[in-house]
């Protein structure tokens, strides 16, 4: 009996020591993961995902897009006003703002941040976002006006991303957001602590954030992330594979969340570029809209969604995912699987089915390679499905998995490829992917060497993109981009296949989350998150 009591007492002592808190006390640290060490803690240098995640959690911005409602809300700016032509925006800041190191934050900090972002020496990704040589005028410590001479579509929404940085940039810089950097162990974690000077309060007057800290573990393996979540060592998994989703749902019912179609689009396209070693007769196939359309018709998107994604994906209707509610052209529907129609389209171009497979009008057998990145389980499974579907038409598809760098090198440098399977996303505003759709764009995927429109439909897209990029009216831009989407679906330079569902896992005792498909999906309102 005595022995049992001693063991119980030791166990209780160990439990108390292990958890580091008293019985009944709620842990107030959020634990999440990023895939690698942030390349920079300078908020203006957040280029890759890891830096961008910690940038989001620490940065104070003037305005924020509410990911749940898509409405623009005031943050460091108490109010703002846009001119009718959409070229000028004026902000009035909240009084008494401070960075986490107690230094004051005023309009001069905003002006300095913007000027530094625009300085080519900084090489900041925000430099491109705010490009256009704006005039920045600070009229009082609380008032600032930014004016562009030319059109700047969606100007107000751009300020959702611009982190206002302090004058002195330490290794771990101070912040005006809900958290500041308090510790960093390379390869282990980034520790973020509650900013005591954060301006936001809840309706009862309690200062936000509710959480004391966020421990951002550096963890490159998604499977390990899932294991940690199941063991209760991590509170959020922001992106889940379908298999992990089912497992979490089984082990911790109510923890796995499906947010519907994500912004991602799995897609394939053919190399239409005159560079590289592609023979002219093969390029002719790829430049034929009927050939591309036949390939598109012959791929069973429903099967891909059901077999590869376990039903947690939806056939794509076009370049924009339905998750992007404002920009999605709702009149577009996914192309149904139709082998007969595919064959008819090929016949109209002179292709014939002969013994040994499909041949073009000149007698060349239809054979091409489909490259994708090795190690990506989803694409490694999609490729054989596409291969089998196209084999029914008599096409021979050679699936080749390459390491990612070799793949990119072939697409953007050597142009030595025939077809590629990758994802192509439009996350928020189509202005971000203008360089894909403009014929002279440097990411004009199917023909990177194009300088002027090679086809009438590309010329029309160029016209529409110019309207889209210059109009101050969101509705005019939407109308123009709707037509771009329609042309993209009719001509299919990129064959959109499926939109995988956005899947995430959230610990049941974490409250206040409003998961959204727009990044950062789960912790976009981190200041309101709390444990119960």
């Amino acid at each position: 009996m005595m022995r049992t009591r001693v063991v119980a007492a030791v166990a209780l002592l160990c439990a108390a020591c292990g958890s580091g808190r008293k019985a009944g006390e709620v842990r107030n640290q959020l634990r999440i993961s990023i895939a690698g060490d942030p390349k920079s803690f300078d908020p203006l240098q957040a280029i890759e995902d890891s830096s961008d995640t910690v940038r989001y959690l620490t940065s104070g911005v003037l305005l924020r897009v509410n990911r749940a409602t898509d409405a623009l809300e005031p943050e460091l700016a108490e109010s703002w006003k846009m001119s009718d032509d959409g070229r000028t925006i004026s902000f009035h800041l909240r009084p008494g703002l401070k960075f986490s190191d107690n230094s004051p934050l005023d309009a001069n900090d905003v002006a300095r941040t913007l000027r530094r972002a625009l300085d080519p020496k900084t090489a900041s990704p925000f430099g491109d976002t705010f490009a256009g040589n704006p005039t920045i005028t600070v009229s009082s410590p609380l008032d600032i006006t930014i004016a562009y001479a030319g059109p700047k579509p969606g100007l107000d929404r751009l300020f959702d991303t611009l982190p206002i940085a302090p004058a002195k940039l330490a290794t771990l810089p101070a912040s005006a957001g809900p958290f500041y950097y308090s510790d960093y162990r390379p390869g282990e974690y980034v520790m973020l602590s509650r900013n005591p000077n954060y301006w936001k309060h809840d309706s009862s007057g309690k200062q936000l954030p509710y959480l004391d800290s966020v421990r951002v573990a550096i963890q490159g393996n998604r499977d390990v992330e899932v294991e940690k979540f199941l063991r209760g060592e991590q509170d959020i998994v922001a992106r889940l594979e379908p298999a992990s989703f089912d497992r979490i749902e089984k082990a911790k019912p109510g923890s796995a969340h499906s947010l519907g179609p994500s912004m991602d689009s799995e897609s394939m396209w053919f190399n239409e570029s005159p560079g590289g070693s592609l023979p002219a007769w093969k390029r002719k196939w790829f430049q034929s809209a009927a050939f591309r359309h036949a390939v598109s018709l012959a791929i069973n998107r429903e099967d891909i969604a059901r077999v590869v994604f376990g039903g947690r994906a939806h056939p794509s209707a076009g370049p924009v995912s339905p998750a992007n509610k404002f920009w999605f052209n709702a009149s577009l529907k996914p192309l149904p699987y139709d082998e007969m129609a595919a064959m008819k389209a090929l016949t109209s171009e002179g292709f014939t089915q002969q013994t040994g497979g499909l041949r073009d009008a000149a007698g060349h057998p239809v054979e091409f390679s489909l490259i994708t990145n090795g190690g990506n389980a989803v694409r490694e499974h999609m490729a054989p499905l596409i291969q089998a579907d196209l084999a029914k038409l008599g096409m021979k598809v050679n699936v080749v998995t390459l390491d990612f760098n070799s793949l990119v090198d072939r697409i953007v440098k050597s142009f030595n490829y025939e077809a590629v399977l990758l994802s192509m996303n439009i996350e928020t505003d189509p202005i971000e992917v203008m360089n894909v759709w403009m014929s002279s764009g440097d990411h004009h995927a199917w023909n990177l060497l194009e300088k002027t429109p090679a086809t009438p439909w590309e010329a029309r897209i160029d016209e529409l993109e110019k309207i889209q990029a210059t109009s101050g009216s969101r509705d005019v831009r939407k109308k123009a981009f709707d037509e771009v989407q329609k042309i993209a679906v009719d001509e299919e330079p990129i064959i959109y296949l499926v939109n995988p569902d956005a899947l995430c896992a959230i610990a049941p005792n974490l409250k206040g989350t409003q998961p959204s498909v727009a990044p950062p999906s789960v912790w976009w309102n981190v200041e309101w998150l709390r444990f119960e």
């Binding site: 499977d223 298999a243 099967d303 390679s369 090795g374 054989p384 291969q387 050679n398 699936v399």
Partner: protein, 268 residues
Amino acid sequence: MIWVRRAAIVILILVALGALFGPAFAPYSYGEQFRDAPSALPGGRFLLGTDQIGRDYFSRLLYATRISIVLAPAAAAVSIVLALLIAPLGAGRGLLRPAVSVFTTICLALPWIFLFIILRAELPLNTSPVLSVLATFALMGVAGWAWPARVFAAEIGRMENSGWLLHARACGIPAKRIAIVHAWQHLRSVALAQFRVLVPAYILAEASLGLLGLGVPEPLPSWGNLLGDLRHPDLVRANPWIMAPLVLLILVMICLETLGSAPMGEIE
């Protein structure tokens, strides 16, 4: 432990027979997709279940075993032949001896896995899956000569001062005949031992390349690309039978290692 070795030989013969003739009895083609039954459980329709895109796992395993079991020994044979051609040059006189030694050392020091990745990336994209497999194993065979060559060079070095060689030379036997008839008798057992070491090494090398997604291309199966699914613990947990190629690989490796460690006379 002669019975252990006999058991190893029996198992290897059974696996080899299964690899050679099994595909003829495979219930389905290795590439046939049953899209109504992805990740199906083992049962009457599919003996070992199906993979994620509904391909019969048992049929794929039979074909994969053929590829790994037939091509790994072929690649090992290429390495041994190359080593047997190069090693005697290192036993020569003058500059050739250090030159061959340095060249062998350089080849041993090269990070072959990265070279394979680069090479795979540079192969023509429309190489057929079968040709791609042959190229992969051929490259392994060509790349792997340096290890046995080093052993053969040492063995040839020992022979140079042996009594039988001096006696043969004194009797006026031509060098060509000494090499083919007498020296080969001494090298043969070393060559066979090296062959037994290289076969499992190449099976594992293909498996490693397959794990990186750079080995045998779709839809052709190999132990390597079947083992690729083991990268995802969720899949393994849901479909534990996908470990079947791993079990087979371990069994074959144990048998080969058992034979590899046996004195030559016992096996012969």
